[in-house]
Assembly symmetry: C2
Homo-oligomer: 334 residues x 2
């Protein structure tokens, strides 16, 4: 295991691939690797990219990665790790298919590492696995780590909030105003992209998103990222106002500007102290979620199938209430 960690720190691609499989599939073994890698993490710029299906996120991510690898003259290329969270079915092989399509563009470049993670049917834990995968890539020395997820529900919000820079991608014509509100991810955005900006209605979408953001900024009190167990935030003197930018990932229009804005956001985070705050919040979230899983695992390991089945039977027959069953089941595991 120590050899594996050494190989990862040296950037060995096979070792990275192995470690990513382990942290995704074997919690105990994964923890040993993560423990060894942890002192070497915290350097990468983690960019979360989310938005509804059909907005062209994958194309945008591929294009971004390409620009980081082949920047304008005079700039240094960055290495890029990509984690694509794919809530696809276990049987359709969406994740693998996604990998193949991506591979066409970025294949053969050692400075790019792409990993798709299927959400499968597991209850929770995906945010944890994403966090672990990002830690592996961080320790392996990737400058930029892009996490791409289809955004709509709370689980996506949890995943994406481990990023330092959150980009929300929309596209023209994805429904009426109420649908756009329903996406409900604007409040975690640092940068908003209207992709497919060559489609009809791009200006309307841009204007609408700007209005939504104005509303948001008036009442935004960082409620989502503060809590009783997290440290108070020091609001920076001049807060970051999320810009709305139009892109056409297919042709590359607006992509250079987007890279520039991402850089500006990273500079802002560092000068305002938010870089550290966000790392702290991401770590706190990870600790709390891991503790939740661990407590549950310990309980589950202590309860017999017989007791469980008998409790469920009694609830199904309406003989006892769910609440009584829960209290009973918690008592029995002591």
């Amino acid at each position: 295991m120590k050899d594996l960690a050494v190989s990862i720190l040296a950037g060995d691609r096979n070792a990275i691939a192995n470690a990513l499989s382990i942290v995704e599939n074997d919690v105990d073994l994964g923890n040993i690797i993560l423990d060894a890698l942890f002192p070497h993490t915290g350097k990468a710029h983690i960019i979360g990219i989310t938005g509804p299906p059909g907005t062209g996120k994958s194309m945008l991510v591929n294009h971004l990665a390409g620009l980081y690898r082949h920047p304008a003259e005079g700039k240094y290329p960055c290495s890029v790790g990509i984690i694509a969270i794919d809530p696809s079915s276990p049987f359709t092989g969406g994740a693998i298919l996604g990998d193949r399509v991506r591979m066409r563009d970025l294949a053969g470049d050692n400075g790019v590492f792409i990993r798709s993670m299927a959400s499968r049917g597991s209850l929770g834990g995906l945010a944890q696995k994403t966090y672990a995968a990002a830690q592996v890539m961080d320790a392996a020395g990737f400058d930029i780590i892009i996490i791409e997820t289809v955004g709509a529900g709370q689980s996506e919000v949890n995943i994406i909030q481990l990023a330092q820079t959150v980009i929300v991608v929309e596209a023209p014509g994805l429904g009426d105003d109420i649908q756009v509100i329903k996406a409900g991810i604007l409040e975690i955005a640092d940068i908003i992209v209207v992709n497919k900006a060559d489609l009809d209605g791009a200006d309307n979408t841009e204007r609408y998103l700007k209005t939504m953001l104005d509303l948001a900024n008036k009442s935004y009190d960082h409620e989502m990222i503060s809590s009783a167990v997290e440290p108070a935030k020091n609001p920076p003197v001049s807060p970051w106002i999320p810009p709305v930018k139009k892109t056409i990932a297919l042709t590359g229009d607006g992509m250079e500007v987007l890279i520039q804005i991402i850089k500006e956001h990273s500079d802002y985070l560092k000068s305002s102290g938010e870089w550290n705050t966000r790392q702290r919040i991401a770590l706190s979230r990870h600790l709390l979620e891991s503790i939740k899983e661990e407590l549950y695992d310990r309980w589950q390991g202590n309860i017999s199938k017989k007791i469980w089945d008998s409790m469920v039977d009694q609830v199904c027959d309406r003989k006892i209430s769910p609440r009584s069953a829960i209290l009973e089941l918690l008592k029995k595991s002591r």
Copy 2:
């Protein structure tokens, strides 16, 4: 509290509204009400409706509710409860806006009760609250309970799986093949609707979904709804093949057929024994999720802010690994 339960069982709208607020906002008080109502639950047909933003789900739900209230001659009208899960921002008031838009169509009908639930920023718990709200409506005697959610991530899958009948709504032109796969909710569908079927590409979307379903049925092993702690499923002699149906909710085209298919699915569930199996699985999920939350709450109540902050500090400074901090924090709470 007992008076409230009696009023709910009598179908008193104010009592139902109060109870829904309580179960959404106050876990302890909510549990007392749910305990009193539980013996009277298990009668409603719970229909889950999910799908990507922009597919016209809200319109479809409104139209369905209208048809249940004013059915074809010779059929008995059903009362309908609607729970709209709205992952909107806490500050834009999306949930309230959603309510108002719906209200225009169904206002003034005592046989319809509509409730929007905002997902807000809370970590988890939404599936629990939805379950609780459905229990209140079930006890209040609504024949049909429709749960509507924007479907993409695991949290939506968790919410929707408490339904007996899951309808996945798609629409033409929501992106290329890979995007449709990414929605990843086909495997939980009992009925698939291609809404906005007057748009270009409806036939393509229908054909594509049918192909996906054929693939799915070949390897579908019910992995998602069975687990070590859940009872084995008895596959019925003639399994239900999810039909794909085209609708135009705006004009009502195909809606009568959809109602008929929902009825057929309900008949199938009852004759195959799956009705009880699904109730059992939904109850099991509810118990497990509640136990997870309760274990975490008990732990959190036992840990001091000082110890927590000091642990997070040490992890942020890379002095100890997250894993060591987790084990330490679990030890300290004993």
